[in-house]
Amino acid sequence: MTNLTSTDFEPIRHAQEIQGISRPSLSYWRDAWIRLKANKRAVSSLFLVIGLLLFTIVGPIVWNVDPALQDLDQVGQPPGSGRLAVIVNEYEPWAGESEAIGTGLRLAENATTMAVRLKWDNLSSAVGYRIYRNIFPVGPERAYGIPLAEYFDNTVLYFEDRLDLKPRRYYYSVVPIDATGILLDGYQTITVDVLRVTTLAEVESQGLSAANINLEIGDSVNLALHPLGTDYLGRDMLARLMAGARVSLFIGIGAPCLFILFGIVYGSIAGFLGGRIDQIMMRFADFVVALPFLLFMILFKIAFGIGPGESGIFPMLVALVILMWPATARLVRGQILQIREQGYIGASRLLGAKTNYLILRHMLPNTLGVVLVTITFAIPGAIFIEAFLSFIGMGVAPPTPSWGSMSNEGIKNMLTSPHELILPAILISVTVLAFNLLGDGLRDALDARLRNQE
C-alpha cells in the first residue's frame, strides 16, 4: 500500500482555462445589428430613410410655405433662377397712345414682364397686320415665331403683349397681311430685352420686404425665394415635395404595417391550427390574391362615398390593407408550419408549455426576421402604388400634392420645365431604392444560415 498523506486529498487546483468565452454573448438581434452595420449599402440607405423622414416631418416646420400658394409672377421657374425685380406702377390698360418717337416697329415704353407695348407705322399695301414673337432671330427663312395676334384693320398700329413674358430677349415682328390673311412682304422686326418687374401691391401682399423699409417705384426687390423652383402654377416645388412626401410616406409606411400585422395574425393561426382550417383559410387567401386591384380601388372609392374633389387617400389605404395581406400570411404560415415540427417545440410542449407560450415565445420571434424583410420590401411597393394611382388621377384631390400626381403634372411640361417632372421622380426613385437596399441588408443580416460563413 502506498502511504497516503493529507496532501493527497487536497483538491486539484483549477487548471488554467483553456476554453472560454472571449467575447460577450450576443443575442440574435445584436448579431443582426452588427452585421447590418458592416453592410455599407444598408447603412447608407438607412441614413437616407432617416433623412426622408426628417424631410417629411421637420421639413415643413423649417420651410413654412403654403404648398397651394400660386406665385403667378414666377411660373415654371427652374431652381436657382434670378429673382431681382424692379418695382413699377400698377398695370393699366393701354389703347395705343404713346409719346415714343421714331419710325418703323418700336417700343412704346420700356419692355417689362408685365407688358411689352409695340407701335409701328402704316404700310399702304397692308389690309391688316399680324404680330409675331420669337425667341430666335427671324433669319432668312422668315421664321417669325409665334403669331400673337392678327388685325384685319390697318388703323390698328399698336400691340400689347402680356403672354407669359420672361426676363429674356425676344424678337418681335410685324407682318402686313391682305384681306384673306396671306402674309405680304415688308415685315419689320425688333429685338426686345424684357425686364423683370413687380408692383408695390404685390410686394406688400407677399411680404417681400421688411416692414420698416419704404420702397418706391424704381427700387429693386427680390421676389419670393423658391429654392427648388416653381411648378406650372407658380407653386413652390420644395413645399409641394414635402407635402407630397407626407402623402406618399403615409401610404408607404401605414399600409404595409397594417396589412403585415393582419397577415401575421392570419398566417400564424392557419399555420398553427393546420389541417382543414388551414386549407380553408389559405384558399380564402388565394381568392383575395385573385381580386383585381385597380377595380377594387375604384369600387372602394365609390363605396366610401368619396365625393368629387375629396381625397381618395383613405380608401386607398383600406384597399391596400384588404388586398395585399395574403403574401405575408402565406409567408408566416410557411414559417410556422416549419417551426412547429422543430425539436425544441416538441421539447417545450413535453415540458408543459401552453399554446399561447409556444406561439409567443418560440414561433413568432422566429418569424420576425422574415416579417421585417417583407415590410421593407412592401414599403417601396406601396409608395409605388400610391404614385401610380395618383398618376392616373385616382389618388389625392387637387390642390393636395403627392409625388405621383406631381409627376403626372410635370410630364405635361416636360419640354419647357423639366424640373417639374425630374424632382418628384428622383424622390420616388431614391425612396424606393433606399427601402429596397435596406430590406436587402436586413435580409442578409437576419438570415441565421449566413451567420457562420464569415
Binding site: L233, M414, T416
Partner: protein, 561 residues
C-alpha cells in the same frame, strides 16, 4: 495553367460568337415583323406629301363613331363628312356661303325653295335629287332615329312636333316638288335658314341605298354613299382611312387631290408633333409647351380662332348658392380672364373672353362687339367682398359650403380649375372642389344639375349671333344651369323671328347686357389654335363653323421644293 487559360479564351470567343448570332437573329426577326406589319391594313406611303400620286397623309384625333350624317354629333365625324358629303349650300374658302348641291335658292318669310343642280351626282353615278334631302330630313326628325341635332331642323314647319312623335312624318313642311326642286315651309320666319342648310345634319341621304344597308348605314366604307369631293374607300376601324377623289363630283374647284390618307388616329398632341417633325403628316396643332420646339425648328407657325367660347356656367337651380345673384357677382369681380390666359394657360392663340358673343360675331356693319360694347371688366376685390357679404346675409349663412367645380379631364381644363380653386380661396376664402370628369360623364352631370359651377364651352353651329344668343333661353336643353328669366326668353324670341335687322341686333345687344348684369356666366377665353402646315400644301383651311380642318380646296404646290 496553360490549359485553363486557353479554355477561358475559347469560352470567351464562343460566348462572343453566341452573342453575335443572337443579335443577328433579333435583327432578322425585327425586319421580318416590320415587313409583315407593313403589309397589314393600309400601306403607309411614307411621307406627308406624295407628289407622284397627288396624295397627302393626315392624322385624325379620334375614330368617328359612325358616319351617318343624320346622327353624327362629334367634330371628327363632321370633318370626314365635310369631305365626303355636300349639302344644298356650302362655305367657300373665305367662309362665305356658296352654292352646293343647290345651284340657287330663295328664302321667304314663310318658306324657302331650292333648285338642285343637274350635275350633282352620287358616288355611284346616280343624280342627287330633292327626294334625297326630303328623306334625310324626315329621318333626322323621326323619333326612332333619336338624332341629337334634330333641334337644328326645328325652323321647318311641324319639325318639333314630328320629332316629339306628336305628328306623323308626312306632316313635315318639306317636299320635293320635282326631282330638282325642294320646297320648305317654315314654322316661323327664319332669315338665317341658308346658313343652317350648310350644316351636317341637313346633308342628303338616298332612300334605296339606305334601305340596302339594313341599318348599318355609315358603319363602314362600303356602307356609305357620297356626293362630296371625296369618297371613303377604305376604313380600317381604329387605325386608318383612305379618302379618294370622287370621279362623279361636279365642282372642279374642290377635291383637287387624288387621295387623302388618314394614316394615324391619335389625339396625343406630342405624337402628332413628332409625326409632323418626321414629315409623316401635313399639318399639326401646337400647344403652348411645344412652341419653343416649333420656334427652334424654324417653322412658319400659323394661328386661327376656332370660334369656341369657354365660360364658367353657374347652376341657377334654386337649392344652390350659385342661384344668388350677389354670390355670382362676387365671383365675377374676384377674377380676371386675362390673368388666366396670359399667365396660367399661356396659349398664344387664346383670347381673354369678355362676353357671351365672341369677337368674330358680325353685327350690322362691322363687328358686333364694336357696335354693342360692354364696359371693361377689371379685377375689383373690394367690390367682390362686398357682394359676398351681401350674399352671406341674404342666404343666412355663416360660411359657404364647398363649391363643386365640374370640369373636363383635359390637362388644360384641370389647369384652369386649379387656378380658380386657389384664386377664390385667396380672394374670397371660398373652398372649391374640383370634379374632373370625362366628356360624357360631365355632360350627364351638367344635365342632371349635379354641380355648382361648370367649365363649359360652346362652339358655333352656324354663322349667326343666334348660335350663341339662344343658349340661355329657358327652353334650350343646352342651358344646363337652368337659367330662367322672362326677359331673356322674350329677347331670344325677338332674335329668332324679328325681320328688321336693326331690331334683331338690338335684341342680341340686350341679351349680352342681361348675361353680363345677371352674371349668368363668367366668360373665360375664346379658343384658338396655333398650328403648322407643310409649306408644299396650299389651300388648307381651318374653320370655326363646319369642319375644323378642311382639305376640300387643298392642293400640292410643287414649286415649294
Amino acid at each position: 495553367m496553360n490549359r485553363n487559360g486557353s479554355n477561358g479564351g475559347s469560352a470567351a470567343r464562343s460566348l462572343a460568337l453566341y452573342a453575335a448570332y443572337v443579335l443577328l437573329a433579333v435583327a432578322i426577326l425585327i425586319y421580318i415583323l416590320a415587313f409583315f406589319a407593313g403589309n397589314t391594313g393600309i400601306a403607309i406611303n411614307g411621307g406627308a406629301i406624295n407628289e407622284e400620286r397627288n396624295s397627302i397623309t393626315i392624322a385624325l384625333s379620334e375614330e368617328p363613331p359612325q358616319l351617318d350624317s343624320t346622327r353624327s354629333t362629334d367634330a371628327v365625324s363632321f370633318v370626314v363628312l365635310a369631305h365626303t358629303m355636300e349639302g344644298l349650300i356650302a362655305y367657300d374658302q373665305n367662309d362665305q356661303l356658296t352654292p352646293g348641291a343647290a345651284e340657287r335658292w330663295e328664302i321667304r318669310d314663310d318658306g324657302a325653295t331650292f333648285w338642285i343642280r343637274e350635275e350633282a351626282t352620287w358616288s355611284d353615278g346616280q343624280p342627287v335629287t330633292a327626294h334625297d334631302f326630303e328623306f334625310a330630313w324626315k329621318r333626322v326628325l323621326d323619333p326612332d332615329t333619336a338624332a341629337q341635332y334634330a333641334f337644328i331642323l326645328y325652323p321647318i314647319k311641324n319639325a318639333e312636333a314630328v320629332n316629339q312623335g306628336d305628328l306623323p312624318k308626312e306632316m313635315l313642311g318639306v317636299r320635293a316638288v320635282t326631282d330638282l326642286v325642294l320646297e320648305v315651309d317654315f314654322e316661323r320666319p327664319t332669315p338665317y335658314f341658308d346658313k343652317l342648310v350648310a350644316f351636317n345634319t341637313y346633308f342628303p341621304l338616298r332612300e334605296d341605298f339606305f334601305e340596302s344597308t339594313n341599318g348599318r348605314y355609315g358603319a363602314d366604307a362600303a356602307m356609305l354613299l357620297s356626293n362630296g369631293p371625296y369618297i371613303l374607300t377604305e376604313w380600317v376601324h381604329g387605325a386608318s382611312m383612305v379618302w379618294e377623289k370622287n370621279p362623279y363630283y361636279w365642282n372642279s374647284e374642290k377635291g383637287l387631290l387624288d387621295e387623302i390618307v388618314t394614316a394615324y388616329i391619335t389625339n396625343d398632341a406630342n405624337a402628332n408633333l413628332n409625326l409632323f417633325k418626321d414629315g409623316q403628316i401635313v399639318q399639326t396643332g401646337l400647344t403652348a409647351p411645344m412652341l419653343p420646339t416649333a420656334m427652334e425648328q424654324r417653322w412658319q407657325i400659323d394661328r386661327f380662332m376656332d370660334g369656341t367660347l369657354f365660360f364658367l356656367e353657374f347652376n341657377h337651380r334654386e337649392d344652390r348658392v350659385t342661384d344668388n345673384l350677389n354670390f355670382r357677382k362676387a365671383l365675377y369681380f374676384a377674377q380676371d380672364p386675362s390673368e388666366l390666359v396670359y399667365k396660367v394657360l399661356k396659349e398664344a392663340s387664346y383670347l381673354p373672353a369678355e362676353s357671351l358673343f365672341p369677337i368674330w360675331i358680325q353685327g350690322l356693319q362691322g363687328a358686333f362687339r364694336k357696335e354693342y360694347p360692354l364696359p371693361k371688366h377689371s379685377l375689383d376685390l373690394e367690390k367682390a367682398r362686398e357682394y359676398l357679404d351681401l350674399a352671406r346675409q341674404e342666404l343666412g349663412l355663416e360660411d359657404f359650403p364647398p363649391i363643386i367645380l365640374l370640369t373636363g379631364d383635359s390637362s388644360l381644363s384641370l389647369l384652369a380649375a386649379e387656378y380658380y380653386q386657389e384664386l377664390y380661396k385667396k380672394n374670397l376664402g371660398l373652398e372649391l372642389r374640383i370634379d374632373a370628369q370625362i366628356f360624357k360623364q360631365r355632360l350627364a352631370k351638367m344635365t342632371s344639375g349635379d354641380f355648382d359651377i361648370v367649365m363649359a364651352g360652346w362652339g358655333p353651329d352656324y354663322f349667326d349671333a343666334l348660335t350663341f344668343g339662344d343658349l340661355f333661353a329657358s327652353w334650350n336643353l343646352n342651358n344646363r344651369g337652368r337659367y330662367q328669366s322672362e326677359e331673356m326668353d322674350n329677347l331670344v324670341r325677338t332674335a329668332q323671328s324679328e325681320l328688321d335687322p336693326q331690331k334683331r341686333m338690338d335684341a342680341f345687344g340686350s341679351i349680352q347686357e342681361l348675361i353680363n348684369s345677371d352674371v349668368v356666366i363668367i366668360p373665360m377665353y375664346e379658343r384658338g389654335v396655333s398650328f403648322v402646315v407643310d409649306p408644299r400644301l396650299k389651300g388648307f383651311k381651318r374653320r370655326s363653323v363646319g369642319p375644323q380642318v378642311d382639305y376640300n380646296y387643298a392642293y400640292i404646290d410643287s414649286s415649294q421644293n
